[in-house]
């Protein structure tokens, strides 16, 4: 087990290194001088200012030295200086990362709460109308883009498009120390928006995995020995069926992080993704680099946790 975890840890480290190398090289493959672009692109900025910025960014050093400086800085928590926000990149990321993680975590939790029971139920009702309704719903759920889902929710719950008689705040963020209720009413809609597509995937996987487990030989033996149907399902079928579902949940982390980018924009959630979009619009390269590096690291870490969990649940995968 220790060997397995160490091996996974090693792979994750290599992935992190690959990601940082690609992020670094891409900034340097960019057409044109980054210093010139940062100071305003076509508008002929002051050559002296460009020279100062080049020096500050270390662009005059040879590439391998720049790379070494950058990686060592990143490991030590120094990702450079943001130009638009005038503060260290790490500082602006540190205030926003917890909000994105909260949104993503809440969405994943909701997706599991919705997806797993529906998948089990739909498998048990296989071929019946309720199964058909649920599988059609799941197909729809995987096909609706996050932001379209978000605007449907805003139209229904915030602008009161169907005359429900109440309206929820459609955007923004409130710190939990200011108002617990305000915090969660602003979290519910974006989290639910993000959760539904993922819930649909989890539901589909749970259903097919349940059907697989239900047709196993052992189930017949358990029924033959006289175990009640509910015990067969709860103690045996679900246990076996949920193992592959863990993998699909892991695979959804990519969608989850990609989804936060769109979802945060829809709901004006001041997280890492809105910071990234802002950084891109302002050509703030150190900030772009930092955001992408941190988000990809979160993604790799989440995958590591899922892999290890899978190894614990299913010893064959080690």
């Amino acid at each position: 087990m220790t060997r397995f975890i160490l091996k996974r840890l090693g792979i994750s480290l290599i992935m992190l290194l690959a990601v940082s190398t690609i992020v670094f090289l891409m900034i340097h493959m960019m057409p044109g001088d980054p210093a010139l672009m940062m100071l305003g692109g076509d508008s002929n900025p002051d050559p002296a200012a460009v020279a100062v910025l080049r020096e500050e960014l270390g662009l005059n050093k040879p590439l391998p030295v720049q790379y070494k400086d950058w990686v060592l800085g990143a490991v030590g928590g120094d990702l450079g200086h943001s130009y638009s926000e005038k503060i260290p990149v790490m500082q602006s990321i540190a205030t926003r990362l917890p909000r994105t993680l909260e949104l993503a975590g809440a969405a994943m939790l909701l997706a599991c709460i919705i997806g797993l029971p529906l998948g089990v139920w739909s498998a048990l009702r296989r071929g019946k109308t309720s199964d058909l309704v649920m599988t059609t719903g799941a197909s729809l759920g995987t096909s609706i883009p996050v932001y379209v889902m978000g605007y449907i929710f805003i139209a229904v719950f915030c602008l009161d498009g169907f005359g429900l008689g109440f309206s929820m705040p459609s955007s923004g963020y409130m710190d939990i120390s200011r108002s617990v209720g305000g915090h969660f009413t602003r979290l519910v809609l974006p989290a639910l928006t993000l959760a539904l597509g993922i819930a649909a995937s989890i539901m589909r996987m749970t259903r097919s995995s349940m059907l697989d487990a239900l047709s196993g030989e052992s189930v017949r033996a358990l029924r033959a020995k006289g175990l009640s149907e509910s015990k067969v399902i709860i103690r045996h079928v679900i246990r076996n069926a949920f193992i592959p579902v863990v993998t699909i949940i892991g695979l959804q982390f990519g969608n989850l992080i990609g989804g936060t980018v769109l979802c945060e924009t829809v709901f004006n959630w001041p997280g890492l993704s809105t910071l990234l979009v802002k950084a891109i619009n302002q050509r703030d390269y150190p900030l772009i680099q930092g955001c992408i590096l941190v988000m990809s690291s979160v993604f790799i870490l989440a995958n590591l946790v899922v892999d290890v969990l899978y190894g614990i649940l299913d010893p064959r995968a080690r």
Partner: protein, 277 residues
């Protein structure tokens, strides 16, 4: 012929064909059907509801939404179809070569291709677009790069299975050159899982392109695209809800159809696989 009969019998296939064929036709016929120039502004009719002159109403500049939808198909589909084709070609080539070569060289190729999977896809796309500029050509390259590993993985694992088969040994023993074995014997035998992946990739690529355009990082205005129209319409949600409704509906239907096409192709091409709804 037998395949065609199976396709017609499959309900998901029929549904997705009914949705996708008009959309594909719109790429070519859109400019012919469109009642207005998509860029023409009618300042006396801004954010109007539907009328005989503007079947789906107008946007904030008084441009015809229907015409913009028709013109907006082309960039999205260009990105999705050409990008997927690029990923298909590059991925199958790399996967088949890696699978056939096997050993250290094979796994080295695969590890290199898989580094792309270390990034959540939209992030890598955003970074490329931020650094190298937006526009249809760059989006096509992004889609091709992002989805190459998916094709490479499938081609690789199928090739590993196929290359041990007797008909491949047979071909090698009569002295066929390696490219001939790869293209003539292995490629046709690993094709079906790759075709299923094509339709799934097309739907992901449409999703990606529209997402980037929604954020303002994809197809650049004034040229229309569906994602960008949704992004523009969001500020007018309470004024003219139909403005956001139409592009959203088109986008969802297209993605749904592409997904169902993937499901249907899986049922048809790979009957051994368990049913996929």
């Amino acid at each position: 012929m037998k395949m065609l009969a199976q396709c017609v019998k499959n309900k998901k296939f029929v549904f997705s064909a009914i949705v996708l064929i008009p959309i594909l036709l719109m790429i070519f016929l859109g400019p012919v059907i469109a009642p207005h120039d998509p860029l023409e502004m009618d300042t006396s009719h801004t954010l109007a509801g539907s009328s005989p002159a503007y079947p789906m109403g107008t946007d904030e500049y008084g441009r015809c939404i229907f015409s913009r939808l028709l013109y907006g198909v082309r960039p999205s589909m260009q990105v999705a179809l050409v990008g997927t084709l690029g990923a298909f070609v590059a991925g199958s080539l790399l996967g088949i070569v890696a699978g056939y070569a096997g050993g250290k060289a094979g796994s080295l190729i695969m590890r290199c291709v898989e580094t792309i999977l270390c990034f959540p896809s939209i992030l890598l796309a955003m970074m490329v677009v931020a650094l190298f500029g937006t526009g249809v050509r760059n989006l096509i390259i992004v889609v091709a790069i992002l989805y190459t590993p998916h094709f490479a993985r499938i081609a690789h694992s199928s090739t590993l299975k196929v290359r041990k088969m007797e008909y491949v040994e047979n071909e090698v023993s009569i002295g066929a050159s390696t490219p001939r074995v790869l293209a003539g014997t292995i490629f046709p035998n690993v094709l079906s899982p790759l075709i299923i992946q094509v339709s799934l990739t097309i739907s992901s690529a449409i999703l990606l392109e529209s997402g980037l355009s929604f954020l303002g990082l994809g197809v650049q205005p004034p040229a229309p695209s569906w994602g960008q129209m949704i992004g523009d319409a969001r500020s007018f949600l309470s004024v003219n809800a139909m403005y956001i409704f139409w592009p959203s509906l088109c986008l969802c239907l297209t993605i749904l159809a592409a997904n169902l096409m993937g499901d249907a192709l899986r049922d048809i091409l790979d009957p051994k696989l368990k049913e996929s709804f």
